[in-house]
């Protein structure tokens, strides 16, 4: 039976507003509400559908602490059977580079046939952890996939990009990141959510040398941008308002 790992991450709910620490060097995210990264929901649903179709062993994998285990519980509720929490022994700040090295260490031991991940995590829109893992493991990979079919030893995917798409056949083992449109995630009912709370979670501890990769960038500053919008309401008489707007647009853009 094919073995599928799904990478999941907890991210702050978009409606919440992260703060900036007093020294201006770090983002304060402790008090925010966390949700499963929306792109990871597509990856989970894709895995569950493959299981329904062909049978598969599904494991959700998340790197981090308590919040990461919340992501695993959300994955359980959506139909994933097993969960592995990947922990780094040192509590250093990690970029996508460091996260990928740690996750790859765990996934190498788990040896899945297929890894599914989101196209990007909407906290920092890093858009790299999954592809990096594939390269570390020597897996074939394709990003932003909106159609997926699994055969015996290969995978056919449709990969979208600006102005077109390509159809690729990837030999297994492979990694795919999911784009919106690949499926419609089914949201869990209460009993599944409650059951997910009691499910055991396995842990994988990353060895210290692997996890202690330093950050390759420094934060110079963090700011909250506030684009100055004029918020000028034009005449609500249709003819007058649109004439006014057309004049403004012509002056500002179309000259």
């Amino acid at each position: 039976m094919i073995k599928i790992c799904v990478l999941v991450k907890s991210v702050p709910d978009t409606a919440s507003m992260p703060g900036i620490s007093e020294d201006g060097r770090s983002v304060v995210v402790e008090d925010l509400d966390y949700v499963l990264n929306p792109f990871d929901e597509y990856a989970i649903e894709a895995a569950v559908q493959l299981k329904e179709l062909h049978g598969a062993e599904l494991t959700a994998v998340s790197l981090g602490g308590e919040r990461a285990s919340q992501a695993l519980r959300s994955a359980f509720a959506m139909g994933i059977n097993n969960g592995v929490l990947v922990r780094a022994p040192v509590a250093t700040e990690m970029s996508g580079r460091g996260a990928a090295v740690c996750l790859a260490a765990a996934l190498r031991e788990m040896a899945p046939d297929l890894i599914l991940a989101g196209k990007q995590a909407v906290d920092d829109d890093g858009a790299q952890v999954a592809e990096r893992i594939a390269e570390h493991l020597g897996f074939a990979h394709a990003s932003a996939v909106n159609h997926l079919e699994v055969k015996e030893t290969s995978l056919t995917v449709k990969r979208v990009f600006e102005g077109g798409y390509m159809v690729l056949e990837l030999p297994l083992p492979a990694l795919v990141t999911t784009e919106k449109g690949i499926n419609e995630p089914r949201y869990p009912a209460l009993p599944q959510i409650l059951k997910a709370r009691r499910k055991p979670i396995d842990e994988f501890m990353v060895s210290e040398p692997v996890a202690s990769l330093a950050l390759g960038w420094e934060v110079e500053s963090l700011t909250v941008p506030c684009p100055e919008r004029r918020r000028q309401l034009l005449d609500d008489n249709v003819a007058a308002g649109t004439a006014q707007l057309a004049d403004l647009l012509r002056q500002e853009f179309l000259s």
């Binding site: 978009t14 409606a15 992260p18 900036i20 983002v27 580079r97 909407v122 906290d123 920092d124 829109d125 858009a127 790299q128 999954a130 592809e131 990096r132 594939a134 390269e135 570390h136 074939a140 990979h141 394709a142 990003s143 932003a144 909106n146 990009f161 600006e162 077109g164 390509m166 690729l168 056949e169 030999p171 784009e179 919106k180 449109g181 390759g216 960038w217 420094e218 934060v219 110079e220 500053s221 963090l222 700011t223 909250v224 941008p225 919008r229 004029r230 918020r231 000028q232 309401l233 249709v238 308002g241 649109t242 707007l245 057309a246 004049d247 647009l249 012509r250 500002e252 853009f253 179309l254």
Partner: protein, 325 residues
């Protein structure tokens, strides 16, 4: 030491490729190093006119081109070898789907940091590359100094200016890529009809939301797009309702756009939608509800029924068109 730009041409060299070159050229000048670029397509000679005066010293081309028959397994190791050979300090690419995927794989091979989707690239006082990176759907902007070498950066379209000085064209150097071990097989590459304006790169975007009333009303917005040379955007609500393809969605789980002008028609202005268009130059909102959130995030607003306002605006704009000489 060098700065290296990855061109990502699709059907042709887009403006986002050229502005990426410009941003990289400014940085290379500051560092006092050569700017090199890699062209993955066929017929490199045909690109020289477009690339003239942008500051590229040497253009690396793969003999038969890797696009459109692009193979990751052959291309990424080639780029990694080239970057090592050129002792590259910084690799820069447009933040398109392919540009981002190449850079993620390349960064892993080089053990380097990568910052995707940046909105500015400069040199800090001491010459260290400094990027501006939006976080949390653009609610926070970080300025990051890329102290490790090499580092990789992708740049969002329409965020950096194009600078051309003189006519100098780059030298061309041809390479051949050893046959790949063939992990993936490309079965098909499909390009959508040329001539449509690509949403992520458009200078003007007209977007429709649930206020449109139904898919039969898109022609109202398409006519406005035509007079403005705009691309058509949409809210998630109408994508989910099946009124239009997902490729048009603007927002957190859709595309991020930074046009000079964004016209939101019948869109309420939720935070997830704002995430995709916050950086537009000017925002115009047309909505029948004066209390709609979008009016708090626009430069000009018209309170009214879009079914009347949009066609009237199209007519007014047509009437103001400069007569063709």
């Amino acid at each position: 030491m060098t700065v290296l730009v990855l061109l990502e041409p699709r059907c042709k060299l887009t403006d986002s490729n050229l502005t990426t070159v410009s941003a990289a050229a400014r940085l290379a000048r500051r560092l006092g190093v050569e700017l090199h670029a890699v062209w993955p397509g066929k017929k490199v000679e045909d690109q020289l006119a477009l690339l003239a005066g942008l500051g590229i010293r040497c253009l690396h081309s793969v003999e038969d081109g890797v696009l459109p028959q692009f193979s990751h397994e052959a291309w990424v190791p080639f780029l990694a070898d080239l970057a090592r050979f050129l002792e590259t300090r910084l690799i820069v690419a447009p933040s398109s789907a392919l540009g981002k995927a190449w850079c993620a794989a390349l960064a892993a091979r080089l053990g380097a940091e990568l910052v995707q989707d940046c909105t500015a690239l400069e040199a800090a006082g001491d010459g260290t590359p400094l990027v501006e990176k939006p976080l949390y759907a653009g609610k926070i902007v970080a300025a990051l100094r890329l102290v490790d070498s090499p580092a990789l950066v992708t740049l969002r379209p329409n965020t950096v200016p194009l600078e051309r000085t003189g006519e100098e064209t780059p030298d061309i150097q041809f390479h051949s890529i050893p046959a790949s071990n063939g992990l993936c097989i490309i079965q098909d590459v499909v390009w959508f009809a040329a001539g449509t304006v690509e949403l992520a790169e458009a200078r003007v975007v007209v977007a429709g939301g649930r206020g449109l009333g139904g898919p039969e009303n898109w022609p109202l917005l398409r006519d406005l797009c035509d007079v403005l040379g705009a691309a058509l955007g949409a809210s998630r609500a109408v994508v989910d309702a099946g009124w239009i393809d997902q490729a048009h969605q603007v927002g957190q789980t859709g595309k991020t756009v930074s046009p000079d002008l964004y016209i939101a028609c019948g869109i309420s202005g939720t935070i997830q939608h704002l995430a995709g268009m916050r950086r537009a130059g000017k925002v115009v909102a047309i909505n029948k509800d004066p209390a709609a959130e979008i009016f708090r995030h626009c430069d000009y607003g018209i309170v009214g029924d879009l079914h009347e306002v949009v066609p009237a605006l199209t007519r007014e704009l047509k009437a103001r068109r400069q007569p063709v000489a």
